[in-house]
Amino acid sequence: MGGMTLKARKIQWIHIVPALVLILVAAACSKKKPAPPPPPPAAKLPAPTAMLTANPNTIEAGQASTLTWNTDFATDISIDGIGKVDPTGTRKVTPSESTTYRLLAKNDSGTKEATARVTVTPAPPPPTTSKVSTESDSQLFSQNMKDVFYAYDSYEITPEYQAVIQSDAGFLQQHPNMSFLIEGHCDERGSIEYNLTLGEYRANAAKQALVQQGVSATRIRTISYGKEKPFCTDSTESCWQQNRRAHFVYSK
């Protein structure tokens, strides 16, 4: 058993309260106030700090970079070429040539300088739209344009070569600036003069077939070489077939 009851020890608040009230009243009722304490003497500022960055720090002419800075304790902040600025801030710049930006942060205690350099590289040349390299056009032409071959003594375009004409026409329509020559050729058999006319008919047949597929006739010239400029000279059917053709030649 050890619990003492609180009841028994009641704080004798009833006796303290009146004493407190008495002290307070006595303090308030005092008629005489004491003087406020004097302000503390003014302290000196620390030297300013400053920081300046440019992002990105390499640009192409015509592009922009963003300057970012902040300073402490400075009373006078400026950036060359811009003027007075806030102690902290950002600014977009578009220098036309490489530039070092300088920030000056001043106060009575001193000056702090911060720099950031923006390097400007020349812009790449704009892509040209008209005739670039004729060489590459000529290569493109010969890689994509397939010749048309004919049966003996014939200038009819067979279904197999009608497909070739369509493919050739498609290429030509993608390259509307290309002009070309169609040479008509014959195999070594037969007569020099008759073969000149047959070659002419072969070149014209290929031209007409392309025109029907929408290729402008003004892009096409024709010539016959008959059997005068063969692609091979063996007296075999495979060589003869090689020579019975309309041959496309890039001309511009």
Binding site: A151, Y152, D153, L181, R189, G190, S191, I192, E193, Y194, L196, T197, L198, E200, Y201, N204, R221, T222, I223, S224, E228, S235, E237
Partner: protein, 444 residues
């Protein structure tokens, strides 16, 4: 199937061989007529002086005279091994009996002499009828030119032509005629010229692109030909008087195979100016252009009937493989002349009766097809085959005497120019350097 094919082939061959034999009997070209040829003795002319030049030029003359008379195709040349030993130089030297008796058995005799004096070559020549002891002289001629070998040959040509004219039924000889042709020996195909016997070959054009299909004008002043100019085939003219090209109107399209009418007034040619290769005629100044054919398919290689100039033969692919056609010179009355195969390069004979042309009678994708020269009588369409060597023979062209034909042949390897008599005999190779094609015999 194979058995049928071989029987069929035999039948075709049999037919092919039968037809020419039947028609050969009566094709008369002025040679091999069955009439006895004149037996002609042609001993060397006598050198009338002993100097080196006289001997050299007399030999050149004699060799040329022999060759011209032998090539004429109308003489039975007496073999020199039958001649009496001494060459007659002047009429007093001639013993008629020595020549008319066996072994020479000659009917006619040529003889004479030559001398170089003062830089000139002087030649005296006679033609004697050795069977006529009363008055044997048929011809007596004198010539005098600057003393060169070329002139020695020229005088021989002239004398030979006189003899041929006198003994050959009034048709002039061809010893002074020329052949125009295409040669690539300079690197590219150009037009060349040579004497009828292949001597004096010389280059005429220098177009450097390509020059084809020469045809000399009747008066011998210009050669028409076709050449690539820029990107098209043009008819051009080469002036033999000025030794350079002269202008001729240009037409659109490919313009090929020019041919002169024998009166020198018209030029026929093939032009694709309308988009389709047709035969046109234009006057020799390039004016009055007329279109003669009017059919789809290539028309090319015209040749005029030189006797009348009222007809033109040409090649047309209007039915497929090229065939020979004739038409009136205004384009009417088109008649097909060949019935099969691949027929090209017609040339009309001076007497208006025959067409010489190149024919592959069996032409096809697999068949190699020999191309031979054929002769056809225009009126009856009967034909005879002149070459039989199984190679490629093309571009026949008639000589003005109607007795000779020049053509191209690859029988000796590369394609060369050959001449022959119009019955197919006496074929002689005329060119050898490079490749030579498309010969055209002059009008005179």
């Amino acid at each position: 199937m194979k058995r049928f094919a071989s029987i069929f082939l035999l039948a075709v061959l049999a037919a092919a061989y039968n037809t020419p034999l039947a028609s050969q009997d009566w094709i008369r070209t002025g040679t091999g007529l069955g009439v006895e040829k004149v037996r002609l003795a042609v001993p060397d002319f006598k050198a009338a002086a002993t100097d080196v030049d006289t001997k050299r030029l007399t030999t050149a003359f004699s060799v040329t005279l022999w060759n011209d008379l032998q090539a004429a195709g109308i003489f039975d040349m007496v073999s020199p091994s039958f001649y009496p030993l001494a060459n007659p130089g002047v009429p007093q030297d001639v013993n008629l009996a020595q020549w008319s008796d066996p072994p020479p058995n000659a009917s006619m005799l040529t003889f004479g002499n030559a001398m170089v004096q003062g830089g000139f070559l002087a030649v005296q020549g006679w033609l004697y009828d050795v069977k006529n002891s009363q008055s044997p002289q048929v011809l007596g001629k004198q010539y005098r030119e600057q003393a060169t070998e070329d002139n020695a040959r020229l005088i021989a040509h002239r004398f030979a032509d006189e003899i041929i004219f006198r003994l050959g039924g009034g048709i002039p000889g061809i010893a002074e005629s020329r052949i125009y042709f295409v040669s690539n020996r300079s690197g590219t195909k150009e037009i060349w010229q040579m004497d009828y016997d292949g001597s004096n070959q010389k280059q005429l054009t220098h177009v450097t692109t390509m020059a084809l299909s020469p045809h000399v004008s009747p008066d011998g002043s210009r050669v028409a030909f076709s050449s690539v100019s820029g990107n098209e085939w043009e008819i051009l003219m080469y002036s033999l008087d000025l030794n350079r090209p002269v202008s001729f109107p240009r037409y659109q399209g490919a313009n090929l195979s020019p041919a002169w009418s024998s009166d020198g007034k018209w030029l026929a040619f093939s032009s694709s100016r309308s988009g389709d290769a047709e035969i046109y005629a234009v006057d020799v100044n390039g004016g009055d252009l007329r279109r003669l054919t009017n059919s789809r398919g290539p028309d090319v290689s015209p040749t005029w009937n030189p006797k009348t100039n009222a007809q033109i033969a040409f090649v047309s692919g209007r039915t497929g493989l090229p065939q020979i056609y004739t038409m009136a010179s205004d384009g009417t009355n088109v008649v097909r002349v060949t019935d099969q195969g691949y027929a090209v390069s017609p040339s009309w004979s001076p007497n208006g009766q025959f067409l010489a042309f190149a024919w592959v009678r069996n032409y096809g994708p697999g068949a190699p097809g020999a191309s031979d020269i054929y002769l056809m009588d225009v009126a009856s369409k009967q034909w005879v085959q002149l070459t039989h060597d199984g190679g490629r023979n093309d571009f026949p062209s008639w000589a003005p005497d109607g007795r000779h034909i020049v053509f191209q042949s690859n029988r000796s390897g590369r394609t060369q120019i050959w001449s022959m008599l119009a019955d197919g005999s006496q074929a002689r190779q005329l060119t050898s350097a490079g490749e030579n094609t498309q010969p055209n015999w002059s009008f005179k």
